[in-house]
């Protein structure tokens, strides 16, 4: 174990996987200078065949990822801000997500798309989306959202070695956060939720960037005598529904925290699963804490109001406990 930053963990995974398999290539806008930090040092080590700046043409980059993977490469496509996924969406939605089915299983597409998502940096609406619900709904894509340096490294390695298109979504502006990362070569399996904090009164399911405020909320709740269990699904597709239900069966109460807009968010889906499959275990309504159905504003005071905060999460969780007392 060693303490490492989130961005450093991602960078290590890229270095290790590119060294491990010469068929791994990485391309995207401004990757040679590693403008997002995570690709640092790759160009010097692996050269321009394997690390390459592209023109700004997302519609082509996503399609090229499909073509290059069909032709035998393991493609890592860096899309910088996740909003740029929209610009490249045709090949994602109409090709990448569908070609395996449409070709009767002939297409195997080992593609990892890296993008930073979420708000909090006054980047305004076109650079702050958490647009993954659309990806999740497409069906043929894995979507992983590591919240810690250890999971970032382990999930990225699993993504690169895997044979399915996978979106690896980094929480924006969180690259400096530190955590313990296991030494040596290790991977984190997809579809395994993890309990980040144990508790018996209420389950807080927190996606990606929301783990931090959820853990902070659990601290606030403890001061009120409420023991919150915080669960991190880690991967959204595939999702460890059983792992989430296990916690809900223990606590009987659940709050789902998601930085996506509320309507048709991943929180909405998880809430539906909990209400459906977990109904008999529930002692209170399933609650969602999400971004309201607005675009992310630029003004820091307004942006803070929109992104789920530890206060908002703690308040919703505490109300669930009060509804029990009433």
């Amino acid at each position: 174990m060693a303490r490492k930053r989130y961005i450093q963990a991602i960078n290590e995974a890229l270095h290790e996987e590119m060294a491990r398999d010469p068929k791994v290539i990485l391309f995207g806008e401004d990757v040679e200078l590693a403008i997002m930090g995570d690709a640092r040092g790759l160009l010097d080590k692996f050269g321009r065949d394997r690390i390459r700046n592209t023109p700004i043409c997302e519609a082509t980059l996503t399609g090229m990822a499909v073509g290059a993977s069909a032709a035998g490469y393991r493609v890592i496509l860096h899309m910088m801000f996740s909003n740029f996924i929209y610009t490249g969406f045709d090949a994602i939605a109409n090709q990448m997500a569908k070609l395996r089915l449409m070709t009767g299983g002939q297409a195997t597409m080992p593609i990892t798309i890296i993008a930073a998502y979420g708000g909090g940096g006054s980047n305004a609406a076109q650079h702050s989306d958490s647009g993954y619900p659309a990806l999740v709904n497409l069906g043929g894509l894995n979507v992983v959202m590591p919240a810690t340096p250890a999971d970032a490294k382990g999930l990225l390695k699993t993504a690169i070695r895997g044979n399915n298109p996978t979106f690896f979504l980094e929480a924006i502006g969180r690259g400096g956060e530190q955590g313990e990362v296991p030494d040596g070569d290790y991977t984190v399996p997809f579809g395994k939720a993890t309990v980040a904090r144990e508790g018996k009164d209420v389950t807080i399911i927190a996606l990606g960037s929301m783990l931090k405020p959820a853990l902070s909320a659990a601290g606030k709740l403890q001061a009120q005598g409420i023991e919150a269990e915080v669960v991190d699904p880690r991967t959204i597709v595939p999702m460890d529904e059983e792992g989430l239900l296990r916690s809900v069966r223990k606590t009987g109460r659940v709050v789902v925290v998601d930085e996506a807009r509320d309507r048709c968010s991943v929180a909405s889906h998880i809430a539906a699963v909990m209400a459906d499959v977990g109904f008999s275990a529930l002692k209170a309504p399933v609650k969602r804490v999400t971004v309201p159905n607005v675009c992310m504003p630029y003004a820091p005071n307004s942006e803070r109001l929109m992104i789920p905060s530890d206060e908002r999460i703690a308040k919703v969780a505490a109300e669930l406990l009060r509804s029990k007392a009433a």
Binding site: A59, G63, Q95, T103, G104
Partner: protein
């Protein structure tokens, strides 16, 4: 003809004719079976454009990649795809080349370099560019060819792929089949300037040919493919042709009496039929005799019959298969 730089020898010319005739007869059979209500989905037929797929693919190696369009049966067959497996796919059978999961607009055979017909107009450009990028990284002699229509040339991704492929000197041949229509809209209403000029703007070598002249396409394709294979970057072919059939069979229902072209226009192009034209040339210049031509016709007819019989007699697709095909090694 004497001015051609590359021309097929007698054997190649006969093989070219046979491939074109196979495409034609397969399409005609699909037209009939569609009209008879035997096919579950729409078909977009390639009748009138056969010379382009056949003459271009004749220059390609089995390991080269192609991407195709929603009008993709011709490219599939020209690149060596199995007629019976294609027919079974269109009939939505388990034995279809895509196990009945893709249908007419998505026939693909990766083992033969056919990265698929594509239901998205312009959907093949970037896939072909990515395959060409992979070929370049492999440092081999493999190339990719992207077939597309004049309609697709108005998609923004076309410009992006011209830029990237020229910038990176990718082994890629763009094959624009200018069939004069974007679905139900004549080219004059949606395409500004000459499409070939768009490629010229990126310093890509270009060839403009009569797409109904199989030998002219052969010559241009041989040069374009040689250029791409040399490592000097992409090449571009604009082949002028005409879509004899509608955008899709049964379009009359969609048009509801509306009209986007005149029968007289269609007739002038039927008179320029590339299949008949090649046959006439072969017979006239002595590369083929009537017996050989008849033998080809008989062989093709038998192949089409066998393909339809195979499709008809095959089991329906497995309706549960989608659960297995969304992800590798995992159920959806």
């Amino acid at each position: 003809m004497a001015s051609l730089k590359f021309a097929p020898d007698a054997g190649q010319a006969l093989a070219l004719y046979e491939r074109m005739l196979l495409i034609r007869r397969m399409e005609e059979r699909l037209r009939a079976d569609n009209a008879a209500g035997k096919l579950p989905g729409a078909v977009h037929l390639y009748i009138g454009q056969e010379a382009i797929a056949a003459a271009v693919c004749a220059q390609l190696a089995p390991t080269d990649w192609i991407t195709s369009t929603h009008r993709g049966h011709g490219h599939f067959l020209a690149k060596g795809g199995d007629p019976a497996a294609m027919m079974a796919e269109i009939w939505a059978k388990k034995t279809g080349i895509c196990k009945g999961m893709g249908g007419s607009m998505h026939v693909a055979d990766f083992s033969k370099g056919i990265l698929g017909a594509n239901g998205i107009v312009g959907g093949g450009f970037a896939i072909a560019t990515g395959a060409a990028f992979a070929a370049k990284l492999d440092k081999g002699k493999r190339i990719a060819a992207a077939f597309f229509g004049d309609g697709a040339s108005n998609q923004g991704v076309f410009m992006e792929c011209l830029n990237v492929s020229s910038l990176w000197k990718l082994p890629l041949v763009f094959v624009c089949e200018h069939n004069k229509f974007s679905e139900f809209t004549p080219a004059a209403q949606c395409t500004s300037g000459e499409i070939v000029d768009r490629a010229r703007a990126f310093r890509i070598p270009t060839f403009v040919v009569d797409g109904n002249d199989a030998f002219a396409v052969w010559d241009a394709a041989a040069q374009a493919v040689a250029h791409a294979r040399s490592g000097e970057g992409p090449a571009f072919i604009e082949a002028h042709t005409y879509r004899i059939q509608g955008h899709l069979e049964a379009e009359a229902l969609m048009l509801g009496g509306g009209k986007y072209r005149e029968q007289s226009e269609i007739d002038t192009w039927i008179a320029k039929d590339p299949v008949e034209r090649l046959k006439a040339t072969l017979l006239a210049d002595g590369r083929a005799n009537a017996q050989q031509v008849q033998a080809i016709a008989d062989r093709v007819a038998a192949q089409v019959e066998a393909a339809v019989k195979f499709a008809e007699e095959s089991e329906p697709a497995d309706p549960e298969l989608p659960f297995d095909l969304m992800f590798v090694e995992r159920k959806a």
